[in-house]
């Protein structure tokens, strides 16, 4: 970032809040009260969309989770939902299947996040040490994969693991192998699709961040006698911390609710042993029309993710303030 931009926003963000601070320097003097309203006018459309499409539904979700909402309410909007108290939550926690699904979701998501981050960072580091032409090829390959839509990449992997003609079966020397009878293998394929799709974003972002680290910092550490691993641990990682934290929290949020890469891989009809929280909630809502229960499941998911979200938000705010 240009230093002018950095310093300017820095002094914009600082300063005591108050009516007089509500105006940017020098501008408000000419326009007075009208200028004071300008930022609000500018922000209003965005706010309306956010509240309307996300804020209100989120609030509604919580309300729904305390209600009985079924087919009757869908087909007859006048038939109000009935208040169910904690019944939906009680059903969730006393349901053995929920705990199975939860455990499975945590394991699968953890595998996806860890693999994506480790491979992503390793690829970014590799990009730094290969010759220019190789780096160009790597960037090309990653960007190519990055751009492939999720349903498309999932179908690609489904075809590559096809029972009769899957090329992966051929390459591994296991002809006529069914990857989906055992859900561990099936989830391994799902994980491969997710990691394949997530690594480009992580690798390219981390590589861009690595390129922003000032050379003199690393050289100074070298001059002081630090070895390469030491430079990496003591200089590079701390500087990358914010971006790594952001990428991994986002990965947790995305992978914890993974949907497409399981749903499409199982031909839009996953069996129960492929249910994760996201899919379970979907099935409850759209197949069983049990919207109250499904909403309670979604609320539980959000609560489980809350810790990660707090970390992410703090990071975002810190970045906002640093500028």
């Amino acid at each position: 970032m240009a230093s002018t931009g950095t310093t300017r926003t820095a002094d914009l963000a600082g300063g005591p809040p108050g009516p007089s601070a509500a105006r940017p320097p020098r501008r408000g003097g000419r326009r007075g009260g009208r200028a004071r309203l300008t930022p609000y006018a500018l922000a209003t459309p965005a706010l309306v969309v956010l509240v309307g499409v996300l804020g209100y539904p989120m609030a509604k979700l919580v309300v729904l989770s305390f209600q009985t909402w079924g087919l009757a309410q869908i087909f007859n909007p006048d038939a109000g939902p009935s208040f169910a108290g904690l019944a939906n939550y009680r059903r969730i926690f006393s349901d053995g299947f929920f705990w199975t699904v939860l455990e499975r979701t945590v394991i699968v998501a953890a595998a996806m996040v860890v693999l994506s981050m480790v491979v992503g960072v390793a690829v970014a580091l590799l990009m730094q040490v290969v010759p220019g032409w190789c780096r160009w090829l790597m960037t090309f390959a990653l960007v190519l994969a990055w751009a492939v839509p999720q349903p498309v990449s999932t179908e690609m992997f489904a075809w590559m693991t096809d029972y009769n003609y899957g090329v992966i079966n051929y390459l591994l020397g296991i002809p006529r192998h069914n990857w989906y009878i055992d859900n561990v293998q099936g989830f391994a394929v799902s994980t491969a699709v997710v990691v394949w799709g997530a690594v480009p974003l992580i690798a390219i972002t981390v590589y861009a961040a690595l390129a922003q680290i000032p050379r003199d910092l690393i050289e100074a550490a070298r001059v002081d006698g630090a070895s390469s691993p030491q430079v990496f641990r003591k200089v590079t990682v701390p500087l990358l911390r914010p971006i790594l934290l952001m990428l991994s929290t986002l990965s947790v949020i995305w992978d914890f609710q993974v949907f497409t890469q399981i749903w499409v891989l199982r031909q839009s009809n996953p069996t129960k042993d492929y249910f994760t929280l996201g899919i379970y909630s979907y099935a409850r809502a759209y197949y069983s029309h049990d919207y109250g229960y499904a909403s309670a499941l979604a609320v539980v998911t959000v609560l489980l993710l809350l810790g990660v979200m707090v970390v992410y938000l703090r990071q975002i705010l810190r970045m906002g303030e640093a500028e």
Binding site: L50, M58, I243, V302
Partner: protein, 276 residues
């Protein structure tokens, strides 16, 4: 010297392995798409199409639902991009150029959206849209995409705007430009790359979106391309030839646009991430 060269060689081989892993699935998709049905079903897979044919593509383009879906995708994507750019640009302007009460809360609200679990919103959104008769409609999709595309757009545009010194604008105003013409002549050209990058990002998001669409759209007349693609599998057994041809057709525009702007998109994400 030779030890250094050996090391470079090892890294290069690793780098090429990465290239293979990330290109191969895409290559395999295209390779399959150009094979006639018989050649897909060989014991030893053909690593390039021995008898290249466009028969699979012909199946795709003769499917009327494909054309409907293409039209819907184009309309939804176009509308989402235009709406997102206008709304996000205004919001970014507010954040980058003004300090006002609630600025921080506003930034916070925008960023929180980035991590709202889709699963959590989709049920109430479905019920809400259902009541407003927006489910299974194109405008409903645009509204939903808009909300999810905005945080990134606001964040990126804010970065671009913050980099344009206010002094430039003021100098133009001193030289006799009005506020509006200073904006048109100075700010807009400078922020244009940011607008291009964000609109391509939004475009890709809208073009690729699957889960929300899957929840909100039910009739084939309103399918978008990803939805059309996954319903392709629901017949008797999966027809991978046409499926891969369809996948290729969907991916090509995205890949092309993405290649064109990826540098800026990645830059927007990391802007301000590392402080030297």
């Amino acid at each position: 010297m030779s030890r250094g060269r050996l090391r470079t060689l090892v890294w290069t081989v690793c780098g090429l392995a990465v290239v293979v892993v990330w290109v191969f699935p895409v290559y395999w998709m295209a390779n399959t798409a150009f094979k006639p049905g018989k050649d897909m079903q060989t014991v030893t897979p053909q690593f390039w199409p021995h008898h290249p044919s466009v028969a699979n593509f012909r199946i795709v383009v003769t499917d009327p639902v494909f054309w409907r879906a293409l039209r819907n995708s184009a309309i939804v994507t176009g509308l989402t991009v235009v709406a997102a750019m206008v709304v996000a640009f205004l919001a970014a302007l507010a954040i980058a150029r003004f300090r006002f009460h609630g600025r921080k809360a506003f930034v916070f609200a925008v960023m929180i959206v980035q991590m709202v679990p889709l699963n959590a919103v989709v049920i109430p959104l479905f019920l809400m849209f259902n009541r407003a008769r927006l489910t299974d409609t194109v405008p409903g999709l645009v509204l939903a995409y808009l909300a999810f595309a905005m945080p990134f757009a606001v964040w990126t545009l804010r970065g671009f705007l913050a980099n344009i010194p206010v002094e430039l604008e003021e100098a133009a105003m001193v030289d006799g430009c009005g506020r509006f013409s200073a904006f048109i002549r100075i700010v807009l050209p400078l922020v244009l790359p940011g607008l291009v990058a964000t609109s391509v990002y939004t475009m890709i998001l809208a073009w690729n979106e699957f889960m929300l669409t899957y929840f909100l759209i039910s009739s084939p007349g309103n399918y978008t391309l990803p939805l059309w693609l996954t319903h392709f599998t629901l017949g008797e057994g999966t027809e991978y030839g046409p499926l891969m041809a369809g996948s290729t057709l969907i991916a090509v525009p995205v890949v092309a646009f993405f290649m064109a702007v990826q540098r800026r998109v990645a830059g927007g994400l990391t802007a301000g991430a590392v402080k030297g």
